[in-house]
């Protein structure tokens, strides 16, 4: 599983990254987490509100800081 966090580096993006790592750990998943801060790359996903969460190249959430509980539901 490849997970990407899209965000230009605002505090919210960092919280999302932290929550995502927590969720992965708790679910015992094998997943790679990558942070995408390049604006061109972010825009290619079609989102305008950051932070966004991308799982296997699919945008699963944007414009929202998900809690690790919410992320768990998305990853299952």
């Amino acid at each position: 599983m490849r997970i990407k966090i899209l965000g230009t580096g605002c505090p919210n993006c960092k919280i999302l990254e932290k929550n995502t790592k927590e969720a992965i750990e708790e679910l015992n998943l094998k997943a790679e987490v990558e942070k995408v801060t390049d604006i061109t790359e972010i825009m290619e996903y079609g989102i305008m509100s950051t932070p966004a969460l991308v799982v296997d190249e699919k945008v699963v959430s944007y414009g929202k800081v998900l809690s690790s509980e919410e992320i768990k539901k998305l990853l299952k």
């Binding site: 230009t8 580096g9 061109t40 825009m43 079609g46 989102i47 305008m48 950051t50 800081v65």
Partner: protein, 319 residues
């Protein structure tokens, strides 16, 4: 009419006269009573406003907006963009993706700017604090002029035809269409509650500080002390110019400004200052530099600044 804020007065009284045991009708007791009452009232309004606006926001996403605004002409898209700007959140870090997304979807540059101007200027937290501190009339004036500044400011920028002053890479980006998931009512309410929590956590301390400083100033500075210095033709431009580099928390600023108004600062000057602080902030300008060339940034600052000046003078004249 029943005073819906009465419970807060009751709590403030209990705290001041029973818990802290302060003597009634002293300067200190009255100031503390006033601060507790105002903080409680603003907290209440803040929670209410954030909830209502973020609930509406779950329907008006920027992704949807760009579809509505794409390829429309005239001043109407500016007005719509400005209106949408009032309910969308704005932190300077989201301005670049929003800007690119709009431009890329074919939203006219002017309408994009209408959105960029109003979005930080009119936001739910500022409305709540303005309501609590200045009352309904001034809040309405602020909101309506904010929407008009965005509409007209963006329209003028559109007339300047500065499309070639947008950073070149912006036009090269091709983004995928994104599918929007249908949200359930429960999800919308949960989203609103989440936003209430996260915004409240960020701002409560500034409100306590702002109200306290305002309260101290109310209690100790003589009435009308500022009138002599601020009631002149230069008041508005000076207030606007001071407001631009001042990137402070506008929410904490509002109670302080109100106490200055009580001491004679003209209301138009005060509004111009608050608008300059929110609409034109240095960090935002720095971030926008990534996507705008110099001339367009200058046009944005000058036009928004002039619109704020005009509003300030207008309200000094008519209120």
């Amino acid at each position: 009419m029943v005073d819906i804020f009465y419970p807060f007065q009751w709590i403030a009284d209990k705290f001041t006269y029973n818990l802290f045991n302060l003597a009634r009708e002293t300067h200190l007791a009255e100031s503390i009573n006033f601060i507790i009452y105002d903080v409680l009232k603003i907290f209440f309004l803040l929670i209410l406003m954030i909830f209502i606006v973020t609930y509406i926001r779950s329907y008006v996403t920027p992704e949807k907006t760009k579809k509505i605004l794409g390829n429309k002409k005239g001043i109407l898209p500016n007005f719509i963009a400005s209106l949408v700007g009032t309910v969308t959140p704005f932190c300077s870090c989201s301005s670049v993706p929003l800007f690119i997304g709009f431009v890329e979807a074919g939203v006219p540059l002017g309408a994009t700017f209408s959105f960029l101007i109003t979005s930080p200027l009119v936001n739910e937290a500022a409305i709540a604090v303005l309501l609590g501190i200045f009352g309904l009339k001034i809040t309405l004036i602020y909101v309506i002029s904010g929407i008009l500044i965005g509409t007209i400011g963006g329209y003028i920028i559109g007339l300047l035809k500065m499309e070639n002053h947008v950073a070149d890479f912006v036009y090269k980006i091709k983004s995928k269409e994104i599918e929007e998931k249908k949200k359930t009512q429960k999800e919308r309410v949960q989203f609103a509650i989440g936003e209430v929590k996260s915004i409240f956590k960020k701002v409560w301390i500034y409100i306590i500080i702002g109200v306290s400083l305002g309260g101290i100033f109310h209690g100790f500075a003589p009435e009308g002390i500022l009138e002599k210095y601020t009631n002149n033709i230069f008041g508005v431009p000076i207030a606007t110019l001071i407001g631009i580099p001042l990137y402070s928390n506008v929410l904490g600023m509002i109670p302080i400004i109100e106490s200055l108004v009580a001491k004679g600062l003209p209301i138009g000057t005060a509004l111009a200052f608050l608008m300059a602080v929110t609409a034109l902030s240095l960090p935002e300008i720095i971030i926008l530099k990534k996507v705008l060339k110099k001339k367009l940034i200058i046009a944005f600052i000058v036009i928004t600044g002039l619109a704020i000046l005009f509003t300030g003078y207008l309200f000094n004249l008519i209120i």
